[in-house]
Symmetry: C2
Subunit: 242 residues, 2 copies
Amino acid sequence: MKHQTAAILVIGNEILSGRTREANAHLAAKQLFKRGCKLAEIAIVPDIEARIVTTLNRLRADFDAVITSGGIGPTHDDITMDSIAFAFGKELIEHRYIVQEMAEHYGEDGLNDGRRRMARVPEGASLIRCQKTIAPGVQIGNVYVLAGVPDIFASQLEAILGDFGGRSFQRREIEVDMAESSFAASLDRIQVQFPDVEIGSYPSHCGNRPHGKICLNSKNGDALLKAVQAVQTMLAKLHAES
Amino acid sequence: MKHQTAAILVIGNEILSGRTREANAHLAAKQLFKRGCKLAEIAIVPDIEARIVTTLNRLRADFDAVITSGGIGPTHDDITMDSIAFAFGKELIEHRYIVQEMAEHYGEDGLNDGRRRMARVPEGASLIRCQKTIAPGVQIGNVYVLAGVPDIFASQLEAILGDFGGRSFQRREIEVDMAESSFAASLDRIQVQFPDVEIGSYPSHCGNRPHGKICLNSKNGDALLKAVQAVQTMLAKLHAES
């Protein structure tokens, strides 16, 4: 059974201090949408074990799966593996196969404490491998632990996406050149008429020349088509009246 | 007393479906950091009242203040004001002054249901005004409710930033051209030595030519300077040895 709902937990002080603009959650959001998996929450917390553990335990209880990003490197602020192990009540163990691979790649001299730190995984976890790095991500229960470095995250995400999804969402967008307030009531009635379709209205700026988009998402292609037609008819009618 | 810690609650299906890359939380993160307010969490939830209420109540209990972004427009999916009122056990009332201003600006004919919807505020809330729009944000208790449209959010944020902060954080970054694993243990010792300084290591890519940055944040300028010197000395020593 594939995961129908997911949450993303981003771990990193660099996002919260404004140093770095978060990118991994946005990539995952796009990929999950494409696969028909509903992304239900994104949470961004600092490199503090208690905060990671509490947030992870809440998210993994509430949703089918959790994808984490960040904190699995070699430095002291990389505490995600420790936190995940704690959350699951597991020991963190050095993975022999990874250590051996590191020794082969870097030589025995290159196998320092930092690299060994990246070979530690929660007991019972399975490895998520990718071409970009020897240091693995892991899956334990319904939690997927990925790297924060964007190209490694992207590569590891690719490796796990097969576990997520179902019937695909489809999206249609309709350009609008009138103020949201002028069609809000009509759009509300269309939303009530099509409960299977998620309808959103997104003004791109406010001012004298209103402009925006109405966005419709659904897993039901038939309902989506009818809702799009209803919106188009509604807009044409309002235009004719104005 | 200014808010020393804050959380940001972003409300919007468009972020979770990957349609839109979140921008407001990143702007707020940068501004709060500049003012010395610790951003403790960013949460992104869908346009679902129960989810907004639960998340808001958790965040406003845990941190000095919460800034929300999104869901205060005129359409059916704009349910943030309703959710905030519910979370505080308040009625949502039409604000006479805002309605009057809208009537003056748009004319009595232009004062449709959508616009009136944007004049609804939780009872007892104070208004957050900005130059970009008549529709206000609000402050109620320790919660600041701002728009999702980026230029309106930015303008409203400007209006409330005076409530946040304290002694400023300072940040220093040091370029590194060696693998994280080679300095991880030494950096850990420096972190232990300088508990007032938040030290992070961020590789920009992995591969044959390691490159990255060590980032140091602190409110204590003296400790920051000493920690920076310790990192530079440590790196020079490792270079000399390699």
